[in-house]
């Protein structure tokens, strides 16, 4: 180690920093929805890995994304992987990288690529079976059982057992099983928990029924403690101390014993002290989790005579379950980490788009929807006056309302009428002014529809016509209104143009080009009739 490395030995954060930081954390329960910025709805679901671990759904107005982390289908401590609630996600960001560290996983055979289509229903059934089988949790229980029997054998032989695993749920189950096995072997061996957070963790794990697996919840209903350590503490079978120097530890200490003291790379805390004490004793046993560099972790304690048991707990979705899971969830797009092992997964049916992501690179996810799913109040919908378009397949109507954004959903509702009872004084004055104005207009201009014009201008409601004008259709429409016209066509530099000349009942010219019609007449009633005819041959709103 040279001087440069020492620079990294600075304090990253203090206990106070941690406290301040956690104060900023907004906690949610499973399936609780929280809305951010009135646009995004965030909702966690149990992932089954550890107590409280979650997969997260983030729903925006135009798509929703599922952040799928390391998940365990069935657990004997934590609430199961709630995968059913993940259905209906547009995008799944698959970030379960547990297989990278786990040697147990095998890449599934790729021969299924040759499956014919009639096998699909079969496969779907198999998928459901595969997802709901409990072989995983059985296997985990077997592992725990194996650790227990190794530990019991060690203490029977007079050795001590040091268990340094960081998985909280698994530790609690191991603690339970171990004490059961000691009881059944009629061994009076004390179990010590040496950790600064052990006391709190034990107390906490017994007051959170809503975060635990089904079997543990059943214990709540029968009035039993969720984990048996409450009882074990009462019976003085387990002893909890923050560290090796805690007062009272000396008096309670007794060897052989079993000690739980987690540290992820065996460098800090009571685990160091105890490893030094027991490393030379071949009767003793060290239980650690599978790690990348066991040799480096154990290096300071060499030569090591004590036995070492390395175990790996299930820490994610098994590779062979990834595809059945996706079939069940039916996303539109799945993002996998750029990793050859995931790449081998057969995808013969293109049920969804697969994209790959890598470190420090932004992946653009194609837009799935251009529009925003929204709501229209029935009050407004009833008031609509739809108009069938000339092509016959669509109807359109103007709609006017007030957009309300609530919980990320847009609702177009009626414009609230100004309430008479709560009218503001100023508002009232304004109303008076308006009505005076109106009466003046009507006096001056008789029957002019001033109000209608006014409001149409306020809301920029320009009446729009579209479609191409068919002069012969217009002639028919004119005829229906008792107007006879003669059609004069002529080519212009910019394309087609034509005129309809009307001489009866009065003079008028209709100038038609591709994009406009100009009606020219001095006769007001004739003009109105022609307008009507023109309008009827076009689509408009």
């Amino acid at each position: 180690m040279n001087g440069l490395d020492l620079v990294n030995w600075q304090c990253l954060y203090s206990a106070a920093d941690v406290k301040v930081c956690l104060k900023k954390v907004h906690t949610l329960r499973y399936a609780e929805e929280v809305c951010y910025d009135n646009t995004l709805i965030i909702k966690p679901f149990s992932s089954g890995l550890e107590i409280g671990s979650s997969n997260w759904r983030i729903s925006g107005p135009r798509r929703n994304l599922m952040y799928l982390t390391s998940s365990v289908f069935e657990s004997d401590h934590t609430m199961d992987f709630d995968y059913r609630s993940l259905q209906g996600s547009d995008v799944i960001l698959f970030s379960d990288c547990s297989y990278v560290h786990n040697t147990e996983y095998k890449v599934p055979c790729t021969s299924s690529a040759s499956l014919s289509s009639d096998c699909y229903s079969d496969r779907a059934n198999n998928a459901a079976e595969l997802l709901s089988d409990n072989s995983e949790s059985l296997k985990e229980m077997q592992k725990i059982g194996f650790i227990c029997s190794c530990a019991v054998n060690s203490v029977k032989a007079g050795g001590c057992v040091l268990i340094s695993i960081g998985r909280i749920g698994s530790s609690l189950v191991l603690l339970e099983q171990l004490s059961l096995m000691l009881d059944s072997s009629d061994l009076k061996i004390p179990i010590f928990l040496l950790s600064t957070s052990a006391e709190e963790m034990l107390a906490f794990s017994n007051v959170i029924p809503e975060w635990l697996c089904n079997q543990r919840q059943q214990k709540l209903y029968s009035g039993e403690a969720l984990f048996s350590h409450t009882e074990l503490l009462g019976a003085k079978k387990i002893h909890v101390f923050p560290g090796v120097d805690s007062p009272g530890l000396i008096n309670a200490w007794q060897e052989p014993c079993i000690v739980f003291s987690p540290h992820w790379n065996l460098r800090i805390g009571p685990v160091v002290h105890l490893l030094r004490r027991w490393r030379g004793n071949e009767k003793c046993l060290l239980v650690i989790e599978h790690m990348m560099d066991t040799d480096i972790a154990l290096l300071p304690f060499k030569p090591l005579a004590m036995k070492v048991l390395q175990c790996s707990f299930l820490s994610g979705i098994r590779l062979d379950k990834v595809q059945p899971l996706m079939e069940k969830l039916q996303p539109k797009i799945v993002l996998y980490p750029e990793d050859s092992r995931i790449r081998v997964l057969p995808d013969d049916r293109n049920l969804y788009t697969i994209l790959y992501y890598t470190k420090n690179e932004t992946v653009r996810i194609p837009c799935l929807r251009n529009e925003i799913e929204a709501e229209l109040s029935k009050d407004l919908a009833i008031g609509l006056k739809p108009k069938l378009l000339k092509n016959g397949s669509m109807a359109i109507a103007r709609v006017k309302g007030k957009i309300n954004l609530n919980l990320g959903r847009h609702l177009l509702g009626p414009v609230p009428e100004p309430s008479r009872t709560f009218q503001h004084e100023d508002e009232k004055d304004l109303m008076d002014v308006v009505s005076v104005e109106n009466s003046r207009i009507f006096q001056r201009r008789g029957d002019l529809p001033v109000l209608a014009e006014k409001s149409s201008r306020i809301f920029h409601n320009r009446v729009v016509h579209w479609g191409s004008m068919d002069p012969s259709m217009l002639l028919v429409a004119l005829e229906e209104r008792g107007i006879n016209g003669t059609l004069v066509k002529h080519e212009t530099s910019s394309g087609f143009s034509c005129k309809i000349h009307v001489s009866e009942p009065n003079k008028a010219v209709i100038d038609i080009s591709g994009s406009s019609s100009v009606i020219s007449t001095g006769d007001e009633s004739l003009g109105a009739l022609i307008l009507e005819a023109v309008s009827s041959t076009l689509d408009s709103i």
Binding site: L376, I396, V399, H410, H465, S515
Partner: protein
């Protein structure tokens, strides 16, 4: 669509809460309680009134139980095990854990008391509870595709919840019992501002405002202390769960502080086991109790021990918590018979006592209680009514209604006279419609209804004026900022196509969306107006008026510059005027060089004009000048029109034209103008005006034209 609210129990009374809400093809039963005051069939809700009651599984979508009190859950085993309902049932974790204790306790009392034929067996209680799905607070549960429910903290007892249910766009909140002020072990009720269609709320204390909690606690402790200090026995008839734990915490604390050694007993059945549940469920208590659990679980009572039957007649002071509450029978009634005749003793009645129970009779402080023909009990002991209750008072109810902001309110779980007073307050102070249905009555409430549509981004963007605050605080505020931000009147066009979801687009998007182009419909009319002089003399007239504009457009270059300048200035002002946009486009179109500039639509026009090259600017100025040439008569016309129309109309004079809505009036010098229907020569002393307008302004334009035709623009 409406929300039908059928009250099967707790209508203008307290007891057997059961409200069946039907909407959007779903039917939810809120609570399934029993009435403690009746022993006949009236104790259960009359389930046969539920439409389709021959098959409850199809008739009812789900049952929601708010809390473990028997008046809310007492009939559930009967409904599931005897009447055979198999569908989903929801309640919170604590309620699922504690309800069987309450039910079992009640079952025993019923069987023990009169050897009554049991309504349901212990096994049936277990069977019933197996069908229950436990939910967490705020967990949004999808009961089925269309029904969503969510629990909110209600205070009252551990695990008590208010439930929000949403069917399509119909929303309901059913409160169950709740408490708006925190007590010794529970927090206050908490709910989001949900703006529901219907709020069904309890109204036990519809017309009372409670005084301070501290004073009431002190009164209780003083009464108990006085009794035991005088060697008396204190009987607190109570239900196993809820108030028992709260009072126990209070007494345990007091005993510690006063260093008292007098025993506090829990009668068997109640109890220590119940406290075990409380210890696990500490996460559902108040923050204060929760925070302390690692060092000491608040439900580890130091001074409390189990009661042995033989101690009933033993001498010496003690405090006894005995079930059931309200002295409705069982052990507490037995103890009451023993202890009531002594003046030294004290009976504390915590909370509400249902009509028909001994507890209810005691509230009027009678000298004697007649249980039946053979049993008359002399009541000489002190009676202390605990004024504190886990129900909200009228202020709390009003606060909750104000907060939830429902469209209508239904009051249940209360007494009619008080409910009537509260109803009037809700109507007058909150202007919210309020109902107090009696049992078996149905209230129909309209619901907000919505249609699912798509909206385009442009439509939303153009029609909402909201300020986004991208502050981290928003996450923390979370639900508090859910209310819609201020919005303006939105206008768009809804496009409906068979088999597709309707889509609302912005007006400007419609034509591109339909893959078509606008077809403009204009009217144009070129006609003479009497001016009193030869058209050839116009320029002379102008000069005589002293206006310095040269008829020759190549006149004084300085003047031209000035005019160009003013034209530009006008142009700027003009661009602001959005309504005049179409005119500007047309004007520009007339200039061949600028044709390309004018083809754009919408507000972009202004931007493009900004980018006009200097050359085209000059061209434009020239053209404006050409129009300005004839300014005097146009201006005169403008003044006359303005006078005729009045200030209120949007009339403007721009270079070379008068603009009125879409109508545009030019002086026309083109003798072959296609819009002239009459030949020019007949009108030597007239000036032609070319008018054009969009067809929407037809009526207005025609009136303007006829006004102009009658006009005399001669200079006098």
């Amino acid at each position: 669509m409406t929300i039908e609210c059928l009250v099967l129990g707790a209508g203008q009374e307290v007891g057997k809460s059961c409200v069946v809400v039907t909407t959007g093809g779903k039917r939810i039963m809120f609570d399934c309680g029993m009435h403690m005051g009746y022993q006949d069939r009236r104790r259960y809700p009359n389930f046969s009134l539920i439409p389709g009651s021959n098959d409850f599984d199809t008739a009812i979508t789900c049952i929601i139980i708010t809390h473990f009190h028997l008046d809310h859950i007492g009939a559930l085993p009967y409904f599931t095990e005897v009447l055979g309902y198999q569908g989903p049932i929801y309640m919170t974790y604590p309620t699922k854990a504690l309800a069987p204790l309450m039910l079992e306790d009640y079952r025993k009392v019923m069987v023990d008391r009169r050897g009554e034929k049991e309504q349901f067996t212990a096994q049936q209680i277990q069977g019933c509870m197996k069908k229950v799905t436990a939910v967490d607070l705020k967990q949004t549960v999808q009961v089925d595709k269309d029904l969503e429910i969510r629990a909110y903290y209600a205070g009252h007892v551990i695990g008590a919840a208010m439930f929000y249910a949403k069917v399509g766009s119909c929303t309901v909140v059913y409160t169950g019992d709740y408490n708006m002020t925190p007590d010794r072990h529970l927090g206050a009720a908490q709910i989001d501002r949900l703006y529901v269609d219907l709020l069904i709320t309890e109204s036990t204390y519809a017309n009372s405002v409670r005084e301070s909690k501290l004073a009431r606690e002190r009164d209780f402790l003083t009464a108990v202390h006085k009794c035991v200090a005088g060697g008396g026995k204190v009987l607190i008839p109570i239900f196993a769960l809820g108030r028992a734990q709260e009072l126990c915490m209070l007494l345990d604390d007091f005993w510690e502080r006063m260093n008292l050694k007098i025993p506090i007993y829990f009668s068997a059945g109640l109890t220590i086991q119940a406290n075990m549940y409380y210890k696990i469920l500490i996460g559902w208590t108040s923050q204060k109790v929760k925070d302390a659990y690692v060092t000491r679980n608040a439900f580890d009572f130091k001074n409390v021990c189990d009661f042995d039957r033989s101690q009933m007649t033993a001498p010496g002071p003690c405090v006894l918590f005995a079930t059931p509450g309200m002295l409705s029978g069982g052990f507490s009634l037995e103890v009451f018979k023993q202890w009531a005749p002594s003046e030294m003793n004290l009976i504390c009645l915590p909370g509400y006592c249902v009509y028909g129970t001994v507890g209810n009779k005691l509230m009027s402080k009678p000298k004697q209680i007649i249980l039946d023909d053979k049993t008359h009990i002399d009541v000489r002991c002190q009676i202390h009514q605990l004024a504190f209750t886990a129900h909200t008072d009228s202020k709390g109810i009003m606060d909750l209604i104000k907060h939830v902001s429902p469209r209508q309110v239904v009051l249940v779980h209360g007494e009619r006279p008080n409910m009537e007073i509260l109803r009037e307050r809700i109507k007058s102070e909150l202007t919210i419609e309020c109902h107090i249905p009696a049992n078996h009555e149905t209230v129909s409430v309209p619901s907000t209804q919505i249609v699912k549509v798509d909206m385009t981004k442009a439509f939303i963007k153009h029609n909402t004026s909201m300020m986004r605050r991208r502050v981290l605080d928003d996450i923390i505020e979370g639900n508090k900022t859910l209310t819609g931000l201020p919005s303006k009147v939105a206008e768009g066009i809804i496009v409906m196509e068979k088999g597709k979801r309707a889509k609302i687009v912005h007006q400007e998007e419609l034509l591109p969306f339909l893959n078509t182009k606008e077809h403009e419909v204009h009217c144009s009319y070129c006609f003479p107006v009497y001016v009193g002089i030869q058209s050839g003399e116009v320029s002379m007239a102008k000069k005589s008026e002293g206006l310095s504009i040269e008829r020759d457009s190549k006149g004084s270059s300085m003047q031209k510059d000035l005019d160009a300048l003013s034209a530009e200035r006008n142009l700027k002002a003009f661009m602001v005027e959005k309504d005049s946009r179409s005119l500007l486009e047309r004007d520009l179109e007339a200039l061949p060089a600028e044709r390309n500039l004018a083809s754009s639509s919408g507000t972009e026009v202004a931007i493009e004009i900004d980018q006009m090259s200097e050359k085209s600017e000059a061209l434009f100025a020239e053209r404006c000048l050409a129009s300005l040439d004839r300014h005097p008569l146009l201006h005169l016309l403008f003044l006359k029109l303005k006078e005729w129309i009045g200030e209120v109309e949007n009339i403007q004079e721009l270079y070379g034209c008068i603009q009125l809505n879409s109508m545009c009036i030019h002086v026309c010098g083109n003798e072959d103008c296609p819009y002239r229907t009459e030949p020019a020569k007949e009108y030597d002393r007239a000036l032609f005006f070319c008018c054009s307008w969009s067809w929407v302004d037809e009526k207005l334009a025609r009136r303007v034209v006829s006004f102009m035709k009658d006009l005399d623009l001669s200079c006098d």
